[in-house]
């Protein structure tokens, strides 16, 4: 029983990092209706900038976090300018395929610059985990959960209560009209990509500081976990992204405990498979084909 609860706690904590990854994905895929496969690799580039700062100059975790988030955001803008800006009004498939090409480019660039496979990453906190009755709570895990909940609330607020968020939703509903009422569509979409990558950067920093290492494969890992968590949570739903991440984390934690680490990743795909069969809209998603941005233009 204690194991069961402890595994659930661990699952929730790890799941909150998946939820953060899904949050950035949702901003681009659910809201802009674009699939950015280079999402994870942009975060990985941020991680590499962070590790250089750590290894070369002995920077502390906060400085590393700042540069990593900034690096991820700039990499996100790079991807947006190359893959998404040239074909804004249509051709979502073309954007997705070119974002796959940039994924490969970013991964190879990382290997070229830092050829060793793994590089160290600074831990966020050190010392013994907190004890809470018979259960153990890691401080960096708690920070992860706090960031996930806080950023979800912030993004939800931004999309529904600020002029910028409303402008983004106006662009999705009617891009031409949005441009003609004076919204600079190109800059707004670029900023949305930067924000999504920055959120991914937060998630990536928290995960890497728990792992204490970064590899070029981190990009693929982040894209996959974010994508799966987003699809489980429901396409286009901001709270759904976090819920999907938490559910994925809990399922993985229990599967690892009962069936071993090899089964862990398999469990993620099984959960996704079951959702796609039984409830393709995901936890909080609406019927397939509609999302929060679904235009109900007259």
């Amino acid at each position: 029983m204690i194991d069961l609860v402890q595994n659930t706690i661990d699952g929730v904590m790890i799941g909150s990092s998946y939820g953060l990854l899904a949050l950035g994905f949702t901003l681009i895929f659910g809201v802009m209706r674009r699939l950015n496969l280079s999402y994870g690799p942009s975060i990985m580039i941020g991680g590499y900038v962070g590790t250089v700062l750590y290894v070369q100059y002995g920077a502390g975790p906060l400085a590393v976090a700042g540069t990593m988030i900034l690096g991820a955001a700039i990499a996100g803008i790079y991807v947006e300018r190359l893959c998404f800006a040239p074909m804004r009004m249509g051709a979502g498939i073309a954007s997705m395929v070119s974002s796959f090409a940039i994924w490969m480019q970013l991964e190879q660039a990382a290997i070229l610059v830092l050829p060793r496979h793994t590089y160290p990453f600074p831990p966020l906190t050190t010392g013994a985990p907190l004890e809470w009755g018979p259960f153990l709570l890691r401080l960096d895990h708690l920070i992860m959960l706090g960031c996930a909940l806080g950023l979800t609330a912030a993004i939800q607020f931004a999309l529904y209560r600020t002029r910028f968020g409303l402008a983004l939703r106006a662009i999705i509903g009617n891009p031409v009209a949005a441009h003609l009422v004076g919204i600079n569509v190109s800059v707004a979409v670029m900023l949305a990509f930067a924000a999504a990558s920055a959120i991914g950067g937060v998630a990536g920093f928290l995960v890497l500081s728990v792992d204490q290492q970064v590899t070029p494969m981190f990009g693929m890992w982040a894209t996959l976990k974010g994508l799966i968590a987003m699809m489980i949570g429901g396409l286009g739903s901001i709270p759904g992204a976090i819920l999907g991440g938490l559910l994925l984390g809990v399922v993985e934690a229990h599967c690892q405990w009962y069936f071993g680490p090899q089964i862990r990743d398999l469990a993620a795909y099984i959960v996704l498979f079951v959702f796609l069969l039984v409830h393709p809209g995901g936890l909080l998603g609406r019927a397939p084909g509609s999302d929060i941005a679904a235009p109900r233009t007259p």
Binding site: T162, R163, A167, A178, H179, L180, G182, P295, R296
Partner: protein
């Protein structure tokens, strides 16, 4: 503005492939004027509006606004300068509320005085108060928090009009605002256009509804096959034989 001419079109030309949609049109709109632009279907009226607001590039010619050449500027910059428009087929943001539709459209006037961050987070207080006044003016105050997509047709037309005015434009382009309206609604539209002019807005009105154009416009320009065939007061245009031929489909001298 200091310039009596708000809008000048010099040799405005737009070809779509082999189609000469607009072919060398010269047109001037004076400050505070209501200029009616009429013509048979496909004569290039809507294309002229699209060219003035920068939806696609010109084939030839120039667009001057307040004396400055804006031919190369992107649409959002032209809005910031003070040119807004309504659409022939309504283009509201259906998933935003009535109030929010106006809020995101405040991209010239009051809102521009703010810096980037405050402008895009909360916007200026004065600008927000203006939205409520605008909604009252268009009799939409009670629909404030309703989704624009759920409004009735007449309300959507009024909201489009309000949205174009929310940015406090110097020049307003109305693309067939009376389409689908009944007699009573057209009468309200007529008085609203007049009231806007009193507030200093210059209007370019494209309309098929002749009664409205003849009543409200100071001057009327007539297009046919992308070229301007007549220009003048309502009575002068009405009695012009070339205009009659264009509308009745006969050829002069036949």
């Amino acid at each position: 503005m200091g310039n009596a001419k708000v809008l000048e079109l010099h040799g405005l030309t737009k070809h779509f492939g082999g189609v000469r949609a607009v072919d060398g049109v010269d047109l001037t709109v004076a400050s505070g004027e209501i200029l009616g632009l009429i013509g048979p279907n496909g004569s290039g009226k809507s294309t002229i509006v699209n060219l003035i607001c920068g939806l696609f590039p010109l084939t030839a010619g120039r667009v001057l606004f307040g004396g400055a050449d804006i031919s190369e500027l992107p649409p959002h910059t032209r809005v910031a300068l003070g040119i807004t428009r309504t659409f022939q087929n309504i283009r509201l943001f259906g998933q935003l509320t009535v109030w929010q539709n106006l809020w995101v459209a405040q991209n010239s006037g009051e809102q521009r005085k703010q810096n980037f961050l405050p402008r895009w987070l909360g916007g200026s207080k004065g600008a927000r108060a203006e939205i409520d006044r605008m909604l009252e003016f268009f009799d939409l105050g009670h629909k404030r928090d309703e989704l624009a997509g759920n409004l009735a047709f007449g309300e959507q037309r009024r909201l489009e009009f309000a949205r174009a005015l929310a940015a406090r434009p110097a020049l307003l382009l109305l693309d067939e605002p009376a389409a689908g309206m009944n007699a009573e609604e057209i009468e309200q539209l007529d008085s609203r256009i007049r009231k806007m002019r009193q507030n200093g807005v210059t209007v370019l009105l494209i309309e098929h509804h002749m009664e409205l154009v003849m009543s409200v416009a100071d001057r009327i320009a007539v297009l046919n096959f992308g070229q301007k065939i007549a220009e003048g007061t309502a009575s002068a245009v009405q009695s012009n034989p070339v205009v009659r031929d264009a509308y009745l489909g006969t050829t002069t001298g036949a």
